[in-house]
């Protein structure tokens, strides 16, 4: 009952605000959605006492029953889903509250809150899913909500373009996921987690022949599922949508594109740990992609000027960390980082939102600066978020990020060394761009025009209170949740499965001191450099950019990924489309296909209508002929 309330109260909020929003007004919509979200968050906090207990399932009702293929709606409650529910509900609640202030001047408030609550519902369905179909439902639900929210200001062409881009890029990933679900059903003859996980060891090292080639069964399934995760979590090479998604309102970026939805991929991998453990090749792929993304996104983050884009690339990069951890078998470290990251990244985004709000919707850091005295609370909150992000000792990021770096060092999996190197480098870069963001935004001389500077003001309490709570979370979450890394796996109580010879969580405590200190060095180096560049001698960056022109362009253009995709896929597809449309479709198919068939159909239709004369005796006659025809058919054809 608790969990039913937890999952469905956001849906109720979405329904009320979405259907009757115009009727009950802005204020009531806000109150209803926030109130129901508060209820959900409360349930999630109460639900935490479940931690470490036996997993169980809350059956709701049967979804479909086709010839022995039964799918139920059910909520799976175990440690993993409890942690996820806690993160999703609480952060969503804080962001709902924040949005009251941030969206105060918008003219479609009920719609916004309805979308936000619907998103939360879909995300909760995703994390509590008991079978793959329900997972897919939640997966697509959050996709739709994300699409709607990115394009929330649908009158802006850039927002529509970003929404469409996000949707299409995700489609590629979702196709992989759909194939994965289908393959799972094909192999296991079930889509229920329990049955799949129970049967997984039996299928280890079996082969599956497709199109003449033969694949390792579990590797194939895991890779397909991971393709879905790549799309949703914006990993290489499907990362391009995430930075553009910043066109949505800032609370959306905080909730969906930083704290919750994008972590669904990590959740998927952790949820399927019983399968990934038997598929080392798939794990290697996860490690490689995760580490590469972590490094790549960090480099791009160095030179971006839009404050939200910097944080977006940072999100991309941090997700890479999580995947790298999951890839080397330290799923717990990945989920731990997911949980801490949710707090500090939401904090950073909301802080950025507060700055943007104060600066009259200015997002370019080059036109900010020197405002820290005017926004003391936001400033403090942002620093807490930044310190947590770079892993300052004592903050939440310190616990989780260091654990990942140590785990990659300690692991023996393929690509572990590669991952370790890239992650440490990425840590330096992270510290640098985080410092750059803080210094450019808050310090130095004001670069905005005087009119804007006059209006700079601290945000209203309704926005500041969530910031303060998230700051507390960013400081304390790591210390509170450090049990998650327990090498015996007592915390997870079977929700995450690792093979007996996977001792990563234990071995990572025995790494050399140099490795333990590496993140700290990276932090000091990165922050120091950024201080040098942007506070001490602000002319340095421009000189350096001039000196290393090609590299600077390369990073600024995000490694030319968008251009590459444009040249590789978009243009050829358009060209092919045009050829098929002009030549094949109009010339061949239409003439012989729809048009031809349509003409024949119409002719048949006219004949059928002509039978209907309107005379009763014609009708009676038709009936008699009918019975004679039926009789003759039976006597001469059936009986023969």
């Amino acid at each position: 009952m608790l969990h039913v309330l937890l999952v469905f109260s956001p849906l109720a909020g979405a329904a009320i605000a979405g259907l009757f929003g115009r009727l009950i007004g802005d204020r009531a919509s806000q109150l209803v959605t926030c109130g129901l979200m508060a209820l959900s968050a409360l349930c999630a906090i109460i639900g935490l006492r479940q931690l470490g207990e036996e997993p169980y399932t809350v059956p709701l009702f049967t979804w479909m029953l086709v010839d022995g293929f039964a799918v139920d709606w059910a909520l799976r409650v175990d440690t993993l889903s409890t942690v996820m529910m806690f993160v999703v509900s609480c952060i969503s609640f804080l962001i709902h509250v924040y949005s009251i202030g941030y969206m105060a001047h918008d003219d479609s408030i009920p719609r916004f809150f309805a979308y936000l609550s619907f998103f939360t519902f879909a995300m909760l369905m995703l994390v509590t899913s008991d079978n793959l179909l329900q997972l897919y439902f939640g997966w697509e639900g959050v996709g739709v909500a994300s699409y709607l929210l990115i394009g929330f200001w649908y009158t802006r062409p850039s927002a529509c373009a970003a929404a469409i881009k996000a949707f299409i890029v995700n489609r590629v990933g979702d196709f992989g996921l759909a194939l994965g679900v289908a393959a799972t059903f094909f192999i296991f003859d079930s889509i229920s987690y329990d049955e799949i996980f129970r049967a997984a060891p039996r299928f280890a090292d079996t082969q599956l022949a497709i199109f003449g080639a033969s694949f390792d069964t579990l590797t194939l399934i895991c890779v397909l599922l991971f393709v879905g995760a790549i799309g949703k979590s914006a990993q290489l090479p499907l990362h391009t949508w995430l930075p553009d998604a910043m066109e949505g309102p800032t609370p959306v970026s905080a909730l969906i594109h930083a704290a919750t939805m994008v972590t669904a991929g990590v959740f998927l991998v952790a949820r399927f740990s019983p399968l990934f453990e038997y598929a080392p090749e798939a794990q290697a792929l996860v490690t490689a992609i995760g580490a590469s993304t972590a490094f790549f996104a960090a480099t791009v983050g160095l030179v971006q000027n839009d404050i939200k884009r910097v944080i977006a690339y940072s999100t991309c990069s941090q997700l890479g960390y999580m995947f790298a951890a999951a890839g080397v078998g330290a799923y717990a470290a990945g989920i731990f980082h997911l949980y801490t990251h949710a707090f500090f990244k939401a904090l950073l985004f909301l802080g950025a939102g507060s700055v943007i709000h104060a600066m009259s919707d200015e997002q370019d850091m080059r036109r900010m600066g020197g405002i820290w005295r005017k926004l003391p609370l936001t400033y403090a909150a942002m620093w807490i978020g930044t310190l947590a992000l770079v892993g300052f000792p004592g903050t939440s990021g310190f616990f989780s990020k260091d654990a990942i770096i140590e785990a990659t060092f300690a692991a023996h999996a393929p690509f572990a060394g590669y991952a370790f190197g890239l992650l440490v480098l990425a840590a330096v870069l992270t510290a640098f761009y985080s410092g750059r963001l803080m210094f450019l935004t808050f310090h130095g001389d004001p670069r905005a025009d005087a009119h804007t500077m006059e209006h700079v003001h601290e945000s209203p309490p309704v926005m500041i209170v969530p910031l303060v709570l998230l700051a507390l979370g960013a400081l304390l979450a790591g210390w509170v949740g450090r049990d998650m890394l327990d090498p015996e796996g007592r915390f997870w109580a079977g929700a995450i499965v690792t093979l007996p010879d996977n001792r990563v969580l234990e071995e990572m405590h025995h790494v050399p001191t140099v490795v333990k200190l590496a993140p700290l060095f990276a932090l000091v180096l990165g922050l120091g450099l950024s201080w040098l560049f942007y506070v001490r001698s602000p002319q340095l960056p421009n000189q350096l950019a001039g000196r290393l022109r090609p590299l600077y362009r390369f990073l600024l253009e995000k490694w030319y990924f968008d251009e590459l995709y444009d040249a590789l896929f978009v243009r050829p597809a358009l060209a092919l489309g045009r050829i098929l449309w002009r030549g094949f479709d109009l010339g061949v198919i239409d003439r012989f296909g729809p048009d031809g068939v349509a003409v024949a159909t119409l002719a048949a239709a006219r004949r059928a209508v002509r039978l209907q004369t309107g005379y009763v005796y014609h009708y009676a006659f038709a009936m008699l002929i009918g019975i004679v025809a039926l009789l003759s058919w039976y006597l001469f054809v059936v009986r023969g």
Binding site: Y617, F621, L624, I625, I627, V628, L631, S632, L635
Partner: protein
Amino acid sequence: MTIALFVFYVFALVTTASAVMVIAARNPVHSVLFLILAFVSSAGLFVLLGAEFLAMVLVVVYVGAVAVLFLFVVMMLDIDFVQLREGFLQYLPVGALVGLVLLVELALVFGTQAVETAAVDMPPTAPPGVTNTEALGSLLYTRYFYLFQTAGAILLVAIVGAITLTLRHRPDAKRQDISRQVHRRPSDTLEVRKVRPRSGI
């Protein structure tokens, strides 16, 4: 026995022949009259079977009421039957063909396989000492109670339907209202006036 058989054939022949004539007769009044003949001769068949009650009912209800009603209706509706029959020849070939095929098929059915008389449980005849009417009544109200009730419901619906489709409340029609008549007081309608000579009312 032979007399009974002879009578049976006579009645059967008359029934069939008059049934054909119902359709074939040009004059609709003749059709109805042939219909009455068909009813009467089938009543004769019922008598031969020992079902006097059914025979009487057939004569009383069908001949006495239904057929006579038909006759009135046909006479009152002034329909140009020649015009109605105009299309007859046009459809005759197809109709004849269809009828023929049906006939052949049914002949096939009945010709190849005789009715399994053993399988047929013969209609229960009245036990000795019980009259035809009584036997029928006791069956209708026991074994066939459900169907009897249903028939009642159908008739009720037919009445309701007929009223629905035809009854019109005409405001100008004069009806007898006994209650109003009884409650009528002389004071309502009568006024006694003294009339003086030569001055009018």
